[in-house]
């Protein structure tokens, strides 16, 4: 990277910068209706909202899997709406994504799953090196080495999440995306996944984490920033405190239903895992 490029990169404040993004599938109704969202670099941003508010569609736009009807999306300063498929494929190497149910390849063992992105994108890397990286990532994600050679069908939900996270981290991505990481999990596993998100973020200085969720409690435990979507727009974007103090009716109702009072953030007094230390 040239000095000017490096300077430009360091000057970019936002990992994702969306302005006036609209998306309609049928030309009539807009699923995204003028999204303005700036996701800061190096922070954990949680995107929340009721079901059907466009969270998944927004995520697919960030990943370049869907093209907006209008508007601009910049990822690490690069406009992605005008990118070709090949450029997008290259760009996606900068992303790591943990799916709701981990989406592990069921014919591959845990270690093979983690080695897969390396095999695809680091073809010149010796197998032994790929194996070592995969082992390191699995260890970082907290998976016991005795499970490395198990197939996804032989693993528990929590173990699968850990492997999914290790796979997402394999290529050392700048942006980590979590799609509904705690949906359908019991409270113990939910806490484990939340801790994993925070510890992974803290371990990887400078990386950006985007969590899409409708679990407000989890959002407050881990987020530096929270963005709430409603009817295809960003209703509120700010810190969890801004969120709690908001006078917007819909936000108030969402908070009232989603967060028990005793679990609200207490500026470091909470027994819950600390938010990312940036």
């Amino acid at each position: 990277m040239t000095e000017t490029n490096a300077e430009q990169q360091s000057n970019i404040q936002y990992a994702v910068d969306m302005s006036d993004v609209k998306k309609s599938f049928d030309g009539k109704e807009f699923v995204l209706n003028g999204i303005d969202l700036k996701i800061p670099k190096g922070k954990i941003t949680v995107i929340i909202g009721y079901s059907g508010t466009g969270k998944s569609v927004l995520l697919k736009h960030i990943l370049g899997l869907l093209h907006p009807t209008s508007g601009s999306i910049k990822v690490s300063g690069k406009e992605i709406t005008s990118m070709t498929d090949e450029q997008l494929t290259k760009l996606r190497q900068d992303y790591g994504m943990l799916f709701q149910y981990a989406a592990l390849f069921d014919d591959m063992t845990a270690i093979e799953n983690v080695m897969f992105p390396l095999k695809e994108h680091r073809r010149d890397m010796p197998r032994s090196e790929r194996l070592q990286i995969a082992k390191d990532r699995l260890k970082d994600s907290g998976l016991d080495p005795k499970h490395f050679n198990k197939l996804p069908a032989e693993m528990s939900g929590g173990m699968r999440k850990r492997v999914g996270l290790a796979r997402a981290l394999a290529l050392d991505p700048d942006i980590l995306i979590y799609d509904e990481p705690t949906t359908g999990l019991d409270p113990v596993l939910t806490e484990m996944v939340d801790n994993l998100i925070v510890s992974t973020h803290n371990l990887r200085k400078g990386s950006t984490s985007i969590v899409v969720s409708h679990d407000l409690y989890a959002a407050f435990r881990i987020a530096d920033h929270v963005a709430m979507l409603d009817s295809g727009r960003v209703l509120l974007h700010g810190t969890p405190e801004d969120f709690l103090n908001s006078e917007i009716d819909l936000v108030k109702r969402f908070v009232a239903k989603g967060v028990r009072k005793e679990l609200q953030p207490k500026n470091g007094e909470s027994e819950e895992p600390a938010r990312s230390t940036e």
Binding site: K90, R92, Q100, Y101, A103, D106, P117
Partner: protein, 288 residues
């Protein structure tokens, strides 16, 4: 509407209702035709993209080998079994018919022609589409509903190139070989029943068969086998790749894939047979 109500209508009302019914029927035909054309177009586009991607970097030939083993090796047993019994049953029927006109010497060539040109490729296509095609649709469908295909896309791996292209290429390469095995085993069945049950002289059977059969009869069947392989692999992978819904969706796409493939093989066989005959006639005319 009851029959009495119908007869109670005036001539004008009857004509109006008949016109309405006819219009609805006509619109239904047009819509069905339009959706058939759209589906065919999408399928052709899917096939063209998959084949084009097969020859693009990164190379996926290791995947092709894996799928050749799955489609080919694992189908050998059922291909041999059905080929043998097809040969036995067909020879039996043809022998009974030819015996009446005292032409039992022609059993071998007749079975050979039928097997090489029609039954070999068609039955191989049907059997392999049910076994391997169904498995392809189910596998890709499961990968779709469990977000494994999305995961590939997010990782920057083209899912069509990684999952679909190798399956199609492997099937097209393996199907002629399976057809050849089917032909050989069916002719073996013919030999066994003719020689050991009907006491036909083996030398006469072999000489008559080789005299009447030409190499192009075999090539024609092998070509058809590859073509049917292309058809069913494209249909089944397309259905699996575009699966919607959960477990039910996987079941539906597997079912649709296999049924559509089987019907298409039989329909396409008719047109290809005619096209091949036209080709031979043209060739003969040009050579004269």
């Amino acid at each position: 509407m009851t029959r009495r109500e119908w007869w109670a209508l005036s001539y004008g009302e009857k004509r109006e209702r008949f016109n309405d019914a006819f219009n609805h029927f006509f619109i239904w035909i047009l819509k069905s035709f339009a959706s058939f054309v759209t589906a065919t177009g999408e399928l052709a586009k899917f096939a063209a993209t998959s084949i084009k991607l097969a020859f693009r970097a990164p190379s996926r030939w290791d995947e092709v080998i894996v799928h050749m083993e799955f489609v080919g090796n694992k189908s050998i047993t059922i291909i041999c079994l059905s080929g043998l019994f097809t040969g036995l049953a067909l020879s039996y029927q043809i022998y009974l018919g030819f015996k009446i006109v005292n032409m039992t010497a022609m059993v071998g060539p007749t079975v050979g022609l039928g097997v090489f040109r029609e039954l070999g490729p068609v039955l191989t296509g049907l059997i392999v589409s049910a076994r391997a095609g169904g498995a392809m649709a189910a596998r890709l469908g499961t990968m779709r509903v469990t977000e494994q295909i999305d995961a590939l896309e997010v990782m920057g791996v083209d899912p069509v190139q990684y999952l679909v292209s190798p399956r199609i290429i492997a099937t097209v390469l393996v199907m002629p070989l399976l057809t050849a095995v089917y032909d050989f085993v069916a002719m073996l069945g013919c030999y066994l029943i003719c020689v050991y049950l009907f006491d036909i002289d083996p030398a006469q059977l072999v000489s008559q068969t080789t005299e009447w059969l030409e190499p192009y009869h075999l090539w024609e069947g092998l070509f058809k086998g590859a073509l049917f392989g292309l058809f069913f692999s494209v249909i089944c992978t397309n259905r699996g790749y575009n699966t919607k819904g959960g477990a039910e969706g996987v079941g539906n796409s597997t079912n649709e894939g296999v049924v559509t493939s089987m019907v298409m093989i039989i329909v396409v066989d008719f047109f290809v047979t005619n096209l091949i005959n036209v080709f031979y006639q043209l060739k003969a005319t040009l050579l004269q």
